[in-house]
């Protein structure tokens, strides 16, 4: 904490602050630091320190039972040659690729619909938002019931009522359908959130732009593709970045509905990391996986922002 950051009045750097000025500064700064202390102490202890600690742990064989031993990059090499690590990565990518466009398209459709002057519009908006405020735990338990292989309402609807499927499907027990089933639930849960963000975006577009386009003879579709979509770009960028991070971070629904099974077909990076750390008590390896994962998320987010910004600028 050098005093060189502080500028003397008039903008010239204080080269040799006099004793009086020093103590005046100190008297000014001490209350500010005291004011920051409680929040900062908690934050540094439970957020920033763990972040650094995880990095250190990732270079150790660390299992709480015996003294930890330094093993260099061993944990990282192990992760990169671990087929289950790659399988988990593939799974979260598939989950993200299904859920992000799914939620955004449906969310935008819902926003356009509920941006119209409809009666009971507020009621509809509240209903659409219900899945968002319901916790992942409850939603996962609810859908485990809906997806039940013997007498679940979904099987009844698709087989007995609509005759779309030939017989009852074991949605969460079949490696082919387990991940798409969880992803469908993810879309169901996230659509309302996308709707609210898109509604805010839509309301920030001035009405006059639409009026002018109407006068020029632009139809509804043209107005949508030439005005609405381009002007929603900042909203879209925000959603893509946040949703991709969320999708890659999937943990709770998988943990509750399938525990990563059947045969790792729904394993996500975080469920795999969690199992390694807390079931196999291999904390160093878990820490290495989480650091690889963090680096990946960081790179993806930066890339998304760059690509989406660039297209927005021209």
């Amino acid at each position: 904490m050098g005093s060189q950051v502080m500028k003397a009045p008039g903008g010239t750097a204080a080269v040799a602050p006099s004793y009086a000025r020093r103590s005046r500064q100190l008297r000014r700064l001490v209350p500010i630091y005291l004011f920051l202390l409680p929040g900062m102490a908690l934050f540094l202890t439970w957020q920033l320190y763990p972040l650094a600690d995880a990095f250190v742990m990732s270079f150790f064989h660390w299992n709480l039972l015996e003294p930890s031993t330094f093993i260099g990059l061993n944990n990282y090499q192990r992760a990169l040659s671990d087929p289950l690590f790659w399988q988990s990565l593939r799974n979260v990518v598939v989950y993200t690729v299904i859920t992000v466009p799914g939620q955004m398209v449906l969310g935008l459709a819902a926003a356009l619909l509920l941006d119209q002057s409809l009666r009971f519009r507020a009621v509809f908006r509240t209903l659409y938002y219900l899945p968002v405020i319901t916790s992942w735990v409850v939603v996962s338990i609810m859908f485990t019931y809906l997806y039940n292989s013997q007498a679940g309402p979904l099987n009844y609807l698709l087989d007995d009522v609509l005759h779309i499927i030939p017989n009852y499907q074991i949605w969460l027990g079949d490696p082919n359908t387990a991940l798409p089933s969880i992803a469908t639930m993810g879309i169901w849960k996230g659509t309302g959130w996308n709707m609210v963000i898109f509604l805010a975006g839509l309301q920030s577009i001035p009405r006059e732009v639409y009026e002018a386009a109407k006068v020029d003879g632009a139809g509804a579709i043209k107005r949508f593709t030439h005005i609405t979509l381009p002007l929603l770009r900042p909203t879209t960028t925000f959603l893509v970045v946040v949703l991709v991070i969320g999708g890659l971070n999937t943990f709770i629904p998988v943990w509750i509905m399938t525990q990563g099974g059947p045969i790792h077909s729904t394993e996500t990076i975080l469920t795999y990391m969690y199992k390694k750390a807390f079931a196999d008590i291999d904390l160093g390896y878990g820490a290495a996986i989480s650091y690889l994962f963090t680096a990946l998320i960081f790179l993806i987010s930066v890339a998304e922002i760059r690509i989406l910004r660039r297209r927005y600028e021209y």
């Binding site: 502080m6 700064l29 209350p31 500010i32 630091y33 004011f35 920051l36 409680p38 929040g39 908690l42 934050f43 202890t45 439970w46 957020q47 920033l48 320190y49 763990p50 600690d53 995880a54 742990m57 709480l64 819902a110 619909l113 409809l118 509809f124 509240t126 209903l127 659409y128 219900l130 899945p131 319901t134 916790s135 735990v137 409850v138 338990i141 609810m142 019931y145 809906l146 013997q150 007498a151 679940g152 007995d160 169901w188 609210v196 963000i197 805010a200 920030s204 925000f238 946040v242 971070n249 943990w255 975080l270 750390a277 807390f278 904390l283 820490a287 989480s290 650091y291 963090t294 998320i297």
Partner: protein, 275 residues
């Protein structure tokens, strides 16, 4: 005119269809919670139970201890929310209105943790909590939840920056220190932003699952999310009780949401615009 009417009708039908798809699981949740267990999962599924009962709620609340878990959740979420909101308001206020050495570093340090999945921190948090004897205790939950201030600081800092300088100046002339300005001037002005942040924080803490799963091991300390998950694992066929317990966990959230809907939407929108 007729075309206009048709268009409107289509819009209403679409809106109702969407609402049905989104609400259907909840309708099942509620109806199953009021269905005697013997009739759960019948083909065809029954939406309105023939013999509705509140027995599932009684079973959940008493014999299955969800009354206790509810109180645990309320205590943990309530106290950690109070601490988080107060501390994050203080941090945000200092970051927004005062200059001091280290300000930039500390603020960006906080922003950095926003990019990091909370589960990435769970291994070292577990080791630290073990060292400090905070595992398997409600205090351990409160401490870790209370440290999650970064998002609030980010949102509130913008709000404090927008408050006109003359208000703070007037107080400064009176010789008021940072505490007085914060409590007497800034906190009252920040009430709408604080309300939004409070609601978000409360819901996050009420629903928090991974850290509770990791740190809590004895039944007396269960919060609702982990109790629900364990109940589901252990009694896979008792959907009536399970759903009654789920409703006990969800209804407070829905009530809070409907009461404070205004704050929700404005809070979300500001996050999107700032992001």
């Amino acid at each position: 005119m007729a075309r206009r009417f048709l268009g409107k009708t289509t819009l209403y039908l679409l809106a109702i269809f969407g609402a049905l798809v989104l609400a259907m699981p909840f309708i099942y949740l509620v109806s199953t919670a009021f269905t005697p267990n013997a009739y759960v999962l019948s083909i065809p599924p029954v939406l309105i139970p023939a013999h509705p009962t509140v027995q599932n709620f009684i079973d959940a609340w008493t014999t299955n201890n969800f009354g206790r878990y509810f109180i645990n959740s309320a205590v943990v979420a309530g106290s950690s929310t109070a601490i988080t909101v107060l501390f994050s308001a203080m941090l945000a206020f200092a970051f927004a209105r005062y200059s001091f050495p280290g300000r930039t570093v500390l603020f960006y340090g906080m922003l950095l943790t926003l990019m990091i999945p909370t589960l990435v921190l769970i291994i070292p948090q577990f080791v630290l909590a073990k060292t400090l004897h905070l595992l398997d205790s409600l205090q351990g939950l409160v401490v870790v939840y209370s440290a999650g201030t970064a998002l609030n600081v980010f949102l509130l800092r913008g709000f404090f920056e927008d408050i006109p300088q003359d208000l703070a100046d007037a107080a400064a002339i009176d010789g008021a220190g940072i505490w007085t300005v914060f409590w007497q001037i800034m906190m009252p002005l920040a009430r709408p932003a604080l309300a939004a942040v409070t609601i978000f924080t409360f819901l996050t803490n009420w629903d928090e699952f991974p850290w509770a799963l990791t740190s809590i091991s004895s039944g007396d300390n269960f919060t609702l999310p982990i109790a629900l998950q364990l109940f589901q694992q252990q009694h896979q066929t008792q959907y009536g009780v399970e759903f009654a317990a789920s409703l006990i966990a969800v209804v407070p959230v829905i009530v809070v949401f409907i009461l404070f809907q205004r704050h929700f939407v404005s809070g979300l929108a500001s996050a999107a615009v700032k992001g």
